[in-house]
């Protein structure tokens, strides 16, 4: 059975059928806070479109994104499984739609159906890999590489037209807005993107890939190892 959310599409038809009775569809509105730090989550989100962003805020007022969740993933499954709270703020970065389920109901289904638990845990491994890769990237790579890597991930989840201000992008990357402006103009001059206020369009995906660091490619390799292990068998 196909589903616009990749994680739900991986479930056995009987598991998805059991879960579908408890799933509702909701709009993801830009800026909506899905979870606050140290608060019990109210719903588990399986995005069909749009992007959720996990943001770490520092006491000095700074903030940086540590992970993105789109149609490839789920937010709140791990917290639902062990009845814990969200560790950081999660906000809607790009408008979209998601299937949602109550945490208690997801926990019950996962405990009764090990195949569902297996899929959810594989995604949590992938998300941890994403957070670790993002930490490495933020510490080691240039703003040009980071911005290009970030645009690649955004493209993979939301397509080539992105409604984003420089200020927002800067907050996600943990750099100053003027640095984003400087680098975005550089990428624009190279014909890789078009930027107008509040709107980024990716014109040359291969060019952006060449400008990026290796982090997105490595992350996709992690994804393949977790979800398509046959690709990596025998070699």
């Amino acid at each position: 059975m196909s589903h616009p959310n990749y994680i739900l599409s991986l479930l056995d038809p009987q598991v998805l059928k059991a879960m579908s009775a408890h799933l509702a569809v909701t709009r993801l509105e830009f800026g909506h806070v899905v979870a606050e730090p140290h608060e019990t989550i109210r719903r588990v989100y399986f995005p069909h479109s749009g992007i959720l962003s996990c943001v770490v805020e520092t006491r000095g007022g700074g903030a940086i994104e540590t992970g993105m969740i789109g149609k490839d993933g789920v937010f709140g499954a791990l917290q639902a499984l062990d009845e814990r709270v969200s560790l950081n703020r999660v906000v809607v970065q790009i408008d979209g739609e998601a299937s949602v389920i109550e945490p208690g109901k997801l926990r019950q289904i996962a405990m009764e159906m090990p195949k569902a638990l297996d899929v959810l845990m594989r995604y949590e491994h992938f998300f941890l890999a994403q957070v670790q890769q993002t930490a490495a990237c933020n510490g080691l790579h240039t703003v040009r590489q980071k911005l290009s890597r970030w645009l690649l991930r955004m493209h993979g989840l939301a397509g080539p037209d992105l409604r984003l201000t420089q200020e927002f992008v800067a907050n996600m990357l943990g750099v100053r807005r003027s640095s984003v402006n400087d680098v975005a103009k550089d990428l624009q001059a190279a014909g890789l993107i078009a930027y107008r206020r509040g709107q980024i369009r990716i014109l040359d995906l291969n060019g952006v890939r060449a400008a990026a660091c290796e982090c997105e490619e490595d992350l996709l390799a992690h994804h393949d190892r977790l979800f398509n292990p046959a690709i990596h068998e025998g070699g």
Binding site: T165, E167, R176, K185, R197
Partner: protein, 86 residues
Amino acid sequence: MARFFFNIHYAETWIEDEDGLELDDLQAAQIEAESVLRELVAMSILQPGRQCPARVQITGGGTGEVGSVKLRAILPPNIVALLPPE
């Protein structure tokens, strides 16, 4: 609150800031410009081949230049001592 724009000037070219940033006052804009210049200078040191900016110009919406931070202002004193006088 007012919107300030931070244009980045290199030796032979400049990057216009079309978006700007809402800040309390000119003093906050001056602090922001200094932080911008520090980050861009660091980027130019970390990334071979990247130009180092000469200054960050602050403008208000349609009011022209209201402030500026030059490279010299953010460099450590021992480096400034090596530079020719302005």
